[in-house]
């Protein structure tokens, strides 16, 4: 991301944005078009789910970090408990992120999930249980990413507030200390 270019005019990371959208669109397009042309359910299933899984990986590991500076994962600590970890950039970097990038990121995330739900409704109406299976898997992957990143963003805001209030508290106490030392 360049500091020289005024943010909001162009996408700062066009290639990342492209890949972010590519796999989502490919999965949806393949699913919709293949039902018209391909008669083999197995191929439709495998390719669609594969594209959806690739998209999940790309969003989670690459575009989440580059476009919005967020990252989430799960760890198992020494006690054997599962811990969800969230990570985000600092406030200055967050503020400097390209607005268009993050707009694209969040909107495509939500729109994809909605699109899968709509397609799922169509399958339900037609009583095609096996296509509902594909929809189920793709929807699970989309929703998992949405939940993960939303939690991560909330956590980032909390961290920023905590950091800010800590900084203010530290400044105040050090000011008071220096005031007393002068006196």
């Amino acid at each position: 991301m360049d500091l020289t270019q005024p943010p909001g005019e162009n996408y700062a990371n066009p290639r990342t944005c492209f890949f972010h959208v590519l796999f989502k669109a490919a999965a949806l397009a393949f699913y919709i078009l293949s039902a018209l042309f391909i008669d083999n359910f197995v191929i439709i299933f495998v390719v669609t789910v594969l594209l959806a899984a690739l998209d999940f990986w790309v969003v989670k590991n690459v575009s989440g970090r580059i476009l919005v500076g967020l990252r989430w994962w799960n760890e198992i600590n020494d006690l054997g408990e599962s811990v969800w970890k969230f990570e985000s950039l600092e406030q200055e970097s967050l503020a400097r992120l390209n607005k268009k990038d993050s707009w694209l990121f969040w909107w495509t995330l939500y729109l994809t999930a909605v699109a899968w739900v709509v397609l799922g409704i169509f399958s339900l109406i037609r009583f095609q249980a096996d296509y509902c299976l594909i929809i189920g898997v793709c929807l699970t992957l989309s929703v998992a990413n949405i939940i993960g990143f939303t939690k991560c963003r909330k956590d980032a805001k909390k961290q920023i507030q905590k950091f800010a209030s800590q900084t203010i508290a530290n400044r105040v106490s050090s000011t008071i200390q220096s005031a007393f030392s002068v006196v």
């Binding site: 899984a53 989670k60 690459v62 799960n74 990570e87 950039l89 998992a144 961290q159």
Partner: protein
């Protein structure tokens, strides 16, 4: 770009202004985040996730200011460059931030693949860590199980002469729903197991059945099929045994293990019965 090691911890001895300055400098230096090498993961990587979910899988990112507690991690100082370690799992990743920060996508992919292989070895083959399930599948990931389930479905579907799509759908749904239900079973019996870890485990235990299904697809003799299926069935059950049994109360071991065995038996029947 390995300036992450120059970023100081949030030490209380340092004044706030210095701290903020350092952070600003750090983020300014790393702000021109390099666009990723635009190479999508070539093998169907599949990750939460791992969630997977998971991941799914992966040593956590950087950062210096991380406290070893279960509180959600402190915001990272430098923006993580592209292709950085795929999240998930990997408590051991804390130690070397500079190495993972600048790795390209291909390295991440390789690391994830190697994680799948190591998980497979831990679960399916004999090794000294088997008795301690908490440690054995610490780096759970859902990509391996995904591969194995799809592969099993494809093999069964290929072997079937009629109704290929139904066979695939049934196999996939059976295995996926079966894994979820078996995990719920353990949880409801009062066992201590982590949901995704257990899903991951049950998925990896399908590997012997995958091998069996492949052999059955290639050799069409009934007797060979029965023998192969029995062998792989016992192998799968043996693989799943320590993890499931140690998760529950000893008096309820059979209650937890019996459904697992039942599921593998039904998959075995599917393999034999397909012609």
């Amino acid at each position: 770009m390995s300036h992450s090691d120059t970023i100081p911890l949030h030490a209380s001895s340092q004044s706030d202004i210095d701290e903020i300055e350092n952070l600003i400098n750090a983020s300014v230096q790393s702000a021109p985040a390099t666009v990723l090498p635009a190479r999508p993961p070539s093998p169907p990587r599949i990750p939460v996730s791992s969630s997977p979910f998971i991941q799914s899988n992966l040593p956590p990112l950087p950062p210096s200011a991380q406290k070893p507690s279960s509180v959600p991690s402190v915001p990272a100082a430098p923006p993580p460059p592209p292709g950085n370690s795929h999240s998930n799992i990997g408590v051991s990743g804390f130690g070397s931030p500079p190495n993972t920060l600048t790795e390209p996508v291909w390295d991440t992919v390789k690391r994830d693949l190697s994680r799948i292989v190591s998980n497979l070895k831990l679960v399916v083959f004999p090794n000294p860590y088997r008795e301690d399930p908490g440690k054995a599948l610490r780096d759970w990931d859902l990509w391996g199980p995904f591969f194995f389930i799809v592969f099993l479905g494809l093999t069964l579907s290929w072997s079937a002469s009629v109704k290929k799509s139904e066979v695939f759908a049934v196999a996939f749904a059976l295995l996926a729903a079966g894994a979820v239900i078996l995990t719920l079973n353990v949880l409801l019996l009062g066992g201590h197991i982590i949901f995704f870890q257990s899903l991951s485990l049950l998925g990896y235990c399908l590997f012997p059945l995958d091998v069996g299904a492949l052999i059955c697809m290639l050799k069409d003799n009934v007797i060979v099929k029965v023998v192969v299926v029995c062998v792989t069935l016992f192998w799968s059950s043996w693989a799943a045994y320590p993890f499931m049994s140690s998760a529950v109360n000893p008096r309820r071991k059979a209650l937890a293990l019996y459904p697992v065995f039942l599921m593998y038996v039904s998959v075995g029947f599917l393999i034999i019965a397909i012609d």
